[in-house]
């Protein structure tokens, strides 16, 4: 009986390992190919050698990446834009969800439904009108001690951040999670003299770690992978994010080793973030019954 159980669990483990290996193949291929010269990448393609760091291995492709594109600048831009979008997104969307979940306001169901309805409009259909719109917005710039006014947000950092702070899906996630927190806790805090913001800050948000982690990841990923929007609104090289950078490598003679090295570089921060928040992410998905 014990042997049978052992055998069954070993079999289950083997299947899991098999799935993990299959899922890891593209990432392993990317990392390994980033260390090989082009000719070898294609030469190894038809054998297992494609997944093994053997042959002519070096970091030449990484050096070439930094020669060819301002990769450090692109990385910093993406980290900055994504981080600010995540932080402001968590704050704004959780506040919105808190109001919809806790406050007794007439018409809040209609507001919530209207917010959710925006989920069905694909961003691509809004992109071009949004470009026109952001170019009409006022812009203030500090020049020494004077504040200068101009029009148009194109070619700035804020145009990559502000349109993506408010997010219907994040509001929905927070709202569903807040609904699962007993309202008696609010009432107890109220008796102790807490106002709405104090309840939000000291009662509800500290209990919403998994939802916050999920929103952080779900906001970070599209911000990090953002491609269409920055290519429409950012012209200066010094403001470009990492995903635009990968296009630098697709000229007539593509160097696939460099492509793989760049892809490896821009994948690392995402993997680190996911590993850091993995447990909370899984908890939140499990508890809200939402697929990411």
């Amino acid at each position: 009986m014990k042997n049978q159980l052992l055998l069954r669990s070993a079999g289950a483990m083997l299947v899991r390992i098999l799935f993990a290996v299959v899922a890891a193949f593209p990432i392993v291929f990317m990392l390994v190919s980033s260390l090989k010269p082009d000719q070898q990448i294609f030469g190894d393609m038809s054998s297992l050698a494609a997944f093994l760091p053997i042959g002519n291995i070096s970091f030449d492709n990484y050096a070439a990446v930094f020669d060819r594109v301002p990769a450090a600048r692109f990385l910093l831009n993406s980290v900055g834009v994504s981080a600010v979008t995540v932080i402001l997104g968590i704050f704004v969307n959780s506040l919105c969800a808190f109001a919809l979940s806790r406050m007794q306001v007439r018409g809040k169901k209609i507001v919530f439904t209207a917010i959710l309805a925006t989920l069905i409009v694909p961003f691509q259909t809004l992109a071009l009108p949004l470009v026109w719109w952001v170019n009409q917005l006022p812009y203030f710039e500090l020049n020494g001690f004077s504040l200068e006014f101009s029009k148009g947000w194109l070619d700035t950092y804020q145009v990559q951040i502000i349109p993506f702070i408010a997010n219907a899906f994040s509001v929905y996630l927070f709202h569903q999670y807040f609904e699962s927190i007993p309202k008696e806790l609010d009432e107890a805090a109220r008796i102790d003299g807490a106002g709405w913001f104090k309840i939000y800050r000291q009662v509800v948000m500290p209990l919403s770690g998994p939802a916050t982690a999920t929103v952080a990841i779900l906001t970070f990923l599209p911000a990090w992978n953002s491609y269409l929007w920055p290519l429409m609104v950012v012209q200066s090289e010094e403001l470009r994010p990492v995903m635009i950078g990968i296009q630098y490598f697709f000229q007539l003679n593509v160097s696939w080793g460099e492509v793989m090295a760049y892809a490896s570089l821009i994948t690392v921060p995402v993997v680190v973030l996911f590993i850091a928040f993995q447990r909370s992410f899984v908890n939140s998905i499990a508890s809200s019954g939402v697929k990411g």
């Binding site: 294609f42 900055g80 710039e141 148009g152 700035t156 200066s236 296009q247 697709f250 003679n253 447990r279």
Partner: protein, 430 residues
């Protein structure tokens, strides 16, 4: 989650966010709003091509140093996303003064009002015809170079298979090509002896495969007025082209979807013949030396054909200092400038005077053959504002046909869509 790790992450994120927010107080340097200050913005597609970008920058530096009225400022974009960036900037009314444009798109951009006709001091009649883009009888863009498609193979492979090397004087006929592929396949060295780059997407599809269609006697659109594709894209000759093209895959002469990099696959001996452009010539020559043979495309009835026109320069219609922009373009077309860009790219220089300055393109030069192909075989892609739509429809048809769709009905559908588009845009009349 580990509390310590959370704190470290949170602190790092906050620090980076603050840095980014502070940095965000500035505006990018590529804004076209700088044009009021005597600065003219120039946008180019070659951010990913450092050699070409450096050559363009050198011309700009030289022009900036030659006068003090205006400064040209270069902003480079990656090629694949360049068109989208320009179209978005046009929608926002934020175009720079000078842009580079892929030749076949010029009529569309001119029709859309992005470009104004060129008024240059430089003599455009000295340019290779395919390097000047015209629409409605006026020049709208001019380029420093063109590129040419060719068939490349190893001479030793052809010899082993008993196949003659095709030449300009005597290109392969359709029957000879069929025979050559059969013999090469018979050697048993390759799964697919031919690589036509069937994994390519976007502009590659019309650029690479419409010349075959034209060699059969068909075309993308009726060039008499550019009002319909009926009879040219779905006539008997076009259907014959489609069946021949799919036949290459059906006979396992080529893959329905080739590798991502056909040139590299060829150099790795995964194919016997590769259909690629002059841009791959130097790389192939360096790898194969004298064993490399560069051959013209196949004569499928109406003579070998290749696509004409590459990247060119134009002046936008809302440029506040178009006189200076035109002056810069005239300056940039000096033979030494054209030669410098052609040298950097390995492309075909746009004028004979420039070619004379590059040994590879002089008579008997290693790359002269590409220039000869361009002069002899280049067919401009249809010079109509409808071209981007036609190209998309043709590209879809090519992929469908290759994947087994009925040739006649697929081409009929493409024609129907193209004709409807032309009609709905009022015939793309000026």
């Amino acid at each position: 989650m580990n509390t310590k790790l959370t704190k470290v992450l949170a602190t790092s994120i906050a620090a980076v966010a603050l840095t980014a927010t502070l940095a965000g107080c500035g505006k990018g340097s590529a804004s076209s709003s700088t044009e009021g200050s005597g600065e003219i913005a120039l946008w180019t597609h070659n951010a990913g091509n450092p050699d070409e970008l450096a050559a363009v920058q050198k011309i700009v530096d030289s022009y900036n140093g030659s006068q003090d009225k205006v400064k040209i400022k270069v902003q480079a974009f990656p090629q694949d996303s360049y068109n989208d960036s320009v179209v978005s900037a046009a929608a926002a009314g934020n175009l720079p003064c000078i842009v580079d444009i892929d030749g076949p798109n010029v009529p569309n951009w001119a029709w859309a009002g992005y470009l104004k006709p060129l008024e240059l001091d430089a003599d455009l009649s000295k340019q290779l015809p395919s390097t000047v883009a015209e629409w409605d009888g006026k020049p709208y863009a001019v380029g420093y170079y063109d590129v040419a498609l060719a068939m490349m193979a190893r001479g030793s492979d052809l010899k082993a298979a008993g196949v003659r090397v095709a030449t300009i004087e005597q290109p392969w006929t359709k029957e000879e090509f069929q025979d050559a592929l059969t013999k090469l396949k018979g050697l048993g060295k390759w799964e697919y002896p031919l690589d036509l780059g069937t994994a390519g997407t976007g502009e590659w599809l019309p650029y690479a495969y419409s010349p075959f269609l034209q060699s059969f006697g068909g075309d993308l659109v009726n060039r008499d007025g550019f009002q319909s594709a009926d009879g040219t894209l779905n006539g008997d000759k076009a259907v014959a082209w489609a069946e021949w093209f799919r036949g290459l895959a059906d006979q396992a002469f080529m893959a329905k979807k080739s590798g991502k990099d056909s040139t590299q696959d060829f150099l790795n001996n995964k194919s016997a013949i590769v259909y690629t452009g002059s841009w791959a010539g130097d790389k192939a020559k360096a790898a194969l030396g004298d064993d490399l043979v560069v051959m013209p495309p196949v004569d499928l009835g109406e003579g070998p054909k290749i696509g004409g026109a590459s990247w060119q320069w134009g002046v936008t219609s809302k440029c506040s200092n178009s006189e200076a922009a035109m002056d810069y373009l005239s300056y940039s077309l000096k033979p030494e400038n054209v030669a410098a860009v052609a040298k950097a790219t390995g492309a075909i220089p746009a004028s004979n005077e420039a070619a004379a300055q590059i040994p590879a393109f002089a008579e008997d030069g290693a790359n002269r053959i590409f220039m000869d192909f361009s002069r002899k075989y280049a067919v401009m892609r249809p010079e109509t504002p409808a071209y981007p739509f036609i190209a998309t429809e043709y590209g879809k048809a090519v992929q469908d046909i290759l994947n087994g769709a009925d040739a006649k009905s697929t081409l009929d559908s493409a024609v129907k869509a193209i004709d409807a588009n032309i009609k709905s845009n009022g015939g793309y009349k000026n």
